[in-house]
């Protein structure tokens, strides 16, 4: 069973994501900001992380930097899911090592496809 970590401060968005990926047979972990995500990642090594950028306390950028430093998480795919939709934002996200960048509002179907695609290339 693949593991997925959902990081976002909007409870209603998390709710939709949680429902969707549970249905796709993922083991789902939830964090409401970067700090909570990093706490979970101390014990868990999910296959995919869906990461918001603008969050209180630790934001998405800082979170991915920590993830990339952690050797245990090298296999981990990160997808930014953000309302920041400027070219420069996307570029920055990719440079920090994200595997994909999706802008909000997003299509759940496309997100699921993206996740599956990433998991397929890695195995």
């Amino acid at each position: 069973m693949k593991k997925i970590l959902l990081v976002d401060d909007e409870p209603n968005i998390i709710m939709s994501l949680e429902y969707t990926f549970k249905k796709q047979n993922f083991e789902v972990f939830i964090a409401r900001d970067g700090q909570e995500a990093l706490d979970i990642l101390k014990t868990e090594q999910p296959d995919v992380i869906i990461l918001d950028i603008m969050m209180p306390n630790v934001d998405g950028y800082a979170t991915i930097e920590s993830i990339k430093k952690n050797e245990k998480l090298t296999h981990c795919k990160v997808i930014f899911l953000s309302a920041k939709n400027k070219e420069s934002d996307i570029e920055k996200g990719m440079q920090l090592g994200a595997n994909a960048y999706m802008t909000k509002p997003f299509s759940i179907k496309k997100l699921v496809d993206q996740v599956n695609e990433l998991l397929a290339t890695s195995s």
Partner: protein, 897 residues
Amino acid sequence: MNSGYLLVILLLYLGLLFFIAQWAEGKGNSKWTNNPYVYSLSLAVYCTTWTYYGSIGVAANSGLNFIPIYLGPVIAFPAWILILRKIIRISRVNKISSIADFISLRYGNSRFMGALVTLIALIAILPYIGLQLKAISETFHIVTNSEESNNVFFDTSTYVAIVLAVFASFYGTRYVDASEKRKGIVTAVAMESLLKLFFFIILGLYVTFYVFDGFDAIYAKASLMESFEERNTIHGLEGGMNWMMLIVLSFFSIFLLPRQFHMSIVENNREKHIRTAIWLFPLYLLLFNLFVYPIAWGGNILFEGKNVNPDMFSLLIPQLFDNTIMTVMVFLGGFSAAISMIVVSSITLSTMLSNNLLIPYGVLGSLQKDNQESNSERIVNIRRIGIFLLIILAFIYYRYFIMDFSLVSVGMISFVIVAQLGPAFFGAIFWKRGSLNGAVAGIVVGMLICFYTIMLPFLLSSINPGSNFFKEGFFGFTILQPFQLFGLDYLDPIPHALFWSLLFNVLVYMAVSVSFKGNYRERNYAEMYVDIDKYINNHENAFVWKGTAYVSDIQKVLKRFLGEERTNRALSIFKMKYNIAPDNLMADARLVKFAENLLTGHIGTASAKILIESVTKEDKISLPEVLKILEESKENLIINKKLTETSNELKELSSQLKKANENLVLKDKQKDEFLDTVTHELRTPITAIRAASEILHDDDEIPDELKKQFLQNIITESDRLNRLIDKILDLEKFETGKQKIYPTQGSIVQTISKSLSPLQQLISNKKIHVEFDENQNTTFISFDEERIIQVITNLVSNAIKFADEKDGIIIITLSEHEDEYLKVNVFNNGKGVNPEDLESIFDKFYQSSNQNIKKPIGSGLGLAICKQIIEAHKGKIWAENVQNGVTFSFTLPKKIQ
């Protein structure tokens, strides 16, 4: 005392002076010779034998009348700082070496004026030098108990005069440039000043405390004498007038006596030395006069009824007690006083004679063709011979004309004559309109009156004392009595002569100056003299000259007097100063003036001008043109000032613009950030709605419970979206002034209560303690309740967000300020606002500094809207960090417009 011994002592003393002068010359500019004390002491050349012996005679005969001669200089001293500094500056930049140069340059570089001043100085000072020789001779005979001989070869003063002439001509003419400093002479004079004071004080102490038992004892005895009362009053108003005239006389003398001009101006090394002189020199005079009175009245007591000359009391008293050492010391003091005066006066007179009379009127033509070495030699020789001649002339004068006059009368006559230069002199530095014609006319008229009221009567009285000229006046016109001119009968002859001569001198000077304008050169120098402080650093610029001149021609002239090397050096310094190309062929006004200055010290101002004129072709300039040029240069100064001001204003403006621009850039950036935030805020509910909708649309297996939950989410997020849009539109309306407020009378306490109730749930969730007294009384004021609720809700919501997480406290208080306004404070115990952000948090685009990254709490519009609402009520809103937290306050005026 044996005259042979005294001669030996004299020679030794003179040898000491030679030694000091030689030593000082060798020292150059060391602190021993170039210091304010030497300068101040050298000014005491003012105190001649007249002071040393004569004031005792005056004090013995007429009590206090010796004092005004010293009061004048003392009164003059405060003005020194102003006047002397000005004269020193003018003289320094123009290389002036005598008072004749000083006056003649100011009046258009006039050769005639220089000669006139020189002649007057000669008439005034020669007898005065003779007087000093007379004093030396007389005192010598008293000390040695010998008789004066009719044979000049047995007269000591003959030899003293020769030795002094050698001394003065050697040390006084070491430099061809007469404006150079003569360290040797100055130091020797300073030394003599010290000695004469020292000897005089010793004598004073001797008479007061050895011969008598102190001041009281002398007074006790003197007051018993018949004429004591009569001789010791000021003699009422008439006496006071006499005193005043004498004070005026000595006030003028301290500036105008050629030796004083020389010591205080030409030999001045540093302007700041004046600061020491203004207290040290008056102190010197005070010390000198301290014992005049006791010695004079001591003498009156000791020699009562005997026919002795009271001028000589200071020698006769120690002699009476057979105190030879004291007698010799007093003699040496008087000798010092005499020779300082003789040496300095003869040097200055010979400089004037050569630079202002002989060279410009005689030998200039031949100097013009010769080379530098022989020119320098000839100039120095002229001066040497001049010094010799002057001293010999003075000697002859003394031997054959003034044997019988008292010290004081001759001294006074010289003072009165020199005072005739006063109006032209002071006019030179304070009155721009003073002209050559006016000055010459004034001096001539003054001199004529002098001659009639004082010189002629003195001459006549020595030839024919019974002449009825004194009683009946000229051709029997009693109104023209020489001592009571125009019926003025209460002044003594000297004050009388001074009064009339100066009065007419000043009147004529002013009348002629005002009536006939001087030429352009006079007006030019008038400007430079009166406003010297403006031109001190580049005075060549102030010289107005138009014409054709070649640098090479001027150079040739300079070389004849300065030599090749000095000329080249001077010119290269000049070119450097004014940034002129080295190969510039044509000379301008500045170079003409510069060249004149270089020559001035050697041959005087008038000759310098004549020489430079001979190699240049000057175009005539009219007086109005000069005034225009001078005015233009003044205007330039003003324009420059204005330009500076404008440029400063521009700088100020540009810095304001820069600031404004920076502000705009910041605002622009903030605007971008705001748009980012707004779009993010708008997209967030849309994202939630879209995600929920997609699930509901695509997923048929979704349980009912969850389906309801997703639909509820869609409703919530839609409402959120709507609220956000409302806020943005609200702000927009306030900002463009479209939003109106609708004030009604109400109680702010009730409004706060209303605002708090919807927040109660949130408050209790976060376990925050809120303090607010709902029962307090408050004035009803007028405000838009709905809007103020919005403000309070926003402030309290913020307070809830930021209050301490564990023990949150919010305190809401009210205060009233007279009739003006009502204030609401909302305090929370959070960590406070970054001090830099205290003001900007009310900006609509403000989030926190790192808002791009960290998710802001709220949209960042709340406070901006609050500010708009409060300002629409004419109130104020602000935040301040206080102890343990932060307070947001707003005011509402009680009378809303």
